[in-house]
Amino acid sequence: MRGVIDRHPFWSAVIFVVAAVLVWMIFAVWPDWLKDLIGRKKVFLNALFNGVTLGGLYFLVASGFTLIFGLMRNVNLAHGSLYLLGGYVGYVAAEVTGLWLLAFPVAFILVAAFGILLQFFVFRRMEGQDLRQTLVTIGISIVMADLMLWIWGGDFYNITPPEWLSGPMTTFFVTTVKRSGDLVFLKYPLVRIVIFAASVVVGIGMWLLLNRTRIGMLIRAGVDDRDMLSATGARIQLVFVGVFAFGAGLAGVAGVVGGTFQSLAPGEDVRFLLASLVVVIVGGMGSIPGAALGALIIGLAEQFGSVYFPTYAVVLTFLIMVAVLAFRPQGLMGRS
Amino acid sequence: MNAPARISRRLGASGTANALELRGVSKLFGALVALEDIDITVRPGERRAVLGSNGAGKTTLFNCITGDFRASAGSIRFFGEDISTFPPHERIRRGLRRTYQISLLFAGLSVLDNIYLACVGVSRRRFSFLRPRRDDSLMAAAGELVEMVHLDADRDTLVSNLSYGQQRQLEIAMALSGAPRFILFDEPAAGLSPSERGDLVEILNGLPAHMGYIIIEHDMDVALRVAESVTMMHNGRIFREGKPAEIEQDPEVQALYLGGGDG
């Protein structure tokens, strides 16, 4: 940390100032001139929260993608299809059993199993053939999209969270002060907060797994030096399968989250594939912290974009990507 | 930089300056020091041999000079011009050439086409959308180079069908394309038969007098016949520099290299 500040004193200062302003904007009661400038604080806080929680969802999808790429150099362009499949499977599980929580393990296990099949029948046969892998996964995503359209049709599906999670929760963030002097606090959907917390837990869990366990060391060593890994023998294939299953399962879980947050429909697979691509391009391929940072940036950009420049919200995210590519092609946290 | 300054620098560049001047060049790969504080000065037209055991840093030195790798520290001047930060193709366009230890040729093309490509690379025509005409000047230049390296019988042969020795000769012809001012030869004699080595020595000695070069060579016999000065490298550093005879007689060099077996 200190090293970073020493090396980039200017940028560290900029980041510090921006962070300070942000903290002030979140906690202070806004003066009138600021309200005149960018509107009500409630709108701002909502955009911020939505952006952060959306970033959590993007992180869930993109972390699996980036983990698989980082370790195996497999580009899985069917990752968005895994997301949508997870969502549909979770929807069915939740509908049939009536248990929202059950949707998660069901989606995880089924999609992870599907990921194992993919790894076994596609990626292992085409080791090192990047282009063919990409083409095959594009083909798979076309086929899966049509199969899912066949089964679930073109309707929108929503996974309804249970009673105890629905409804808003009053947070401790002040939005405004009433004339009477009472403070008005921000209300925010509880389920989003819970899911965001869960994705943070997943993220930290992954980080701990990668940095504090033997298997994590093995995976990280593989990311750094693939030749070393292949020299260690056959067990590494198990690690590959495991990582692939985990990454795919994570996409499935993200599908359930997305189905609860938003909705499931044909086309969401492409949307989340693109989101993952942009997140990992911005954050740096193969880096979990990069995926977290990228997801946060893209989530915030999308939400603030849709509030403050509604016409070009999506374009904003791509502009960020272009800027990163132009000035730091390896991504913000990627190694050159 | 204003125009007069640029012109005078250009003049200085081709007039009095050294062909190649390395000052404090170092190259690190992570924690590994491949080159450490290298100073080399080569006069225009000078022919220098670089000797040293495997891993002494000779090829890394070439890679730093041509820009395949960016040097971690130090400056490289080519005929007076600081090329340290230039990308490889800019250095090549200024008259620097190199051959590779492992043949990096275009196997699906004929001998003549390989040389033609090398001629195009340093000409203005590299972006041309037009195919060469029959009286094409670059094609003619390529034809001359084919003869120079004695490959005229195989000018239309695909590179994949050439013998190893012929491929090495082709490599040299490609390095000679388009008026080079200075050439780096990376072990051109490796793997050649004795008679092919003789041809090589003949080609090198037949180069125009102004065309200096550095040659990495394991074979002392070849090196001493084509070079007027010798730089001895060891563990990424310059160990000795001098006339071939002095180097050959230096006891430390003998202990380190000449007596060291695989020479």
Partner: protein
Amino acid sequence: MALADNRLASDGRDRPTWFERVPPAYWVGGFLLLVMPSFASDFILFQIFGWTFILGIIALSLMFLAGYGGMVSLAQMTFAGCAGYMVAIFGTSAITDISLGWPWFVAIPLALIVAVLLGTLTGWLAVRTEGIYTIMITLAIAAAFFYFTRQNYVIFNGFSGFNGVLPPQLFGVDWRGSTAFYYLTLFWAALCYFAVLYISRAPFGLALQGIRDNQRRMSALGFNAIAHRVAAYAFAALLAGIGGILLTWQSAQISPGTAGIGAAIDILVVAVIGGLRHPIGAFIGAFIYVILKTFALDALEAIGLAGERFQLLIGLGFLLIVFWSPDGVLGLWARWRESRSRDPLLERGGERP
């Protein structure tokens, strides 16, 4: 894949004239294509062949980048769509509020220039990366263009796009008439095809293939690999732009969906099914795609499936091809010929033509 195997520099000695060098199959094919309107129906001319040539041109631009340059770009449909939008904006359309109504000889070159600029910019971004990254970045750029055109109403007229975009009435001919449109698209397809063939053996194309095979070596010959790749993107964007303008004229409209993500992937499918090794692959792939897209509905219903399972069919076909013949139909063809020319008694490969 090494540099293409025919030679560029075979010298003047006993070189056959170009007339003799054209294989007979070309003469037959060319003749059939020229006389097609005398016996084919309007539907076949306009829908099947017109569309095949147009898709073929756009897929050809991808073949040029991927086959010769080793860069698989998913943004080719974006360049095509951009050119289509630009003729609608600079020229005439039913959306008179936006269309500037400039004459065709201004609007068309301008449209192509804008497409080439977009292609150059995309290339400049994409060539900083390699292989897989190129695919991802061009896909992201294609998506950005799609969303931008869908959300922008001032220039791109948002979701509905432009309709009534018609070719100019040059020489008093209605170029959207089936025969005229057939010849129009045939002309441009042939021109683009031969241009790519020619350039593949010119210094630019040779250098591009050299960079694909060994970038470091090419740098050591004085080639600026980055600039070469960007220039390849620009040229490919020009091809795609030509295809895009024709596509817009064929359907007389352009909307965000024309250059959407599905369309971008379709171009990749077309090029890969045909084969990336030779420019003709783009047109073979386009023909197969168009035939499937036109007749799959009936065929699927005939075997008792719903007609909308077309995507499934295309996807499965694509999967089969990339699984078993990475060189597409051309690769299958080459293998079949090889197996036929092999003499079973001598177990020796036949002479390559």
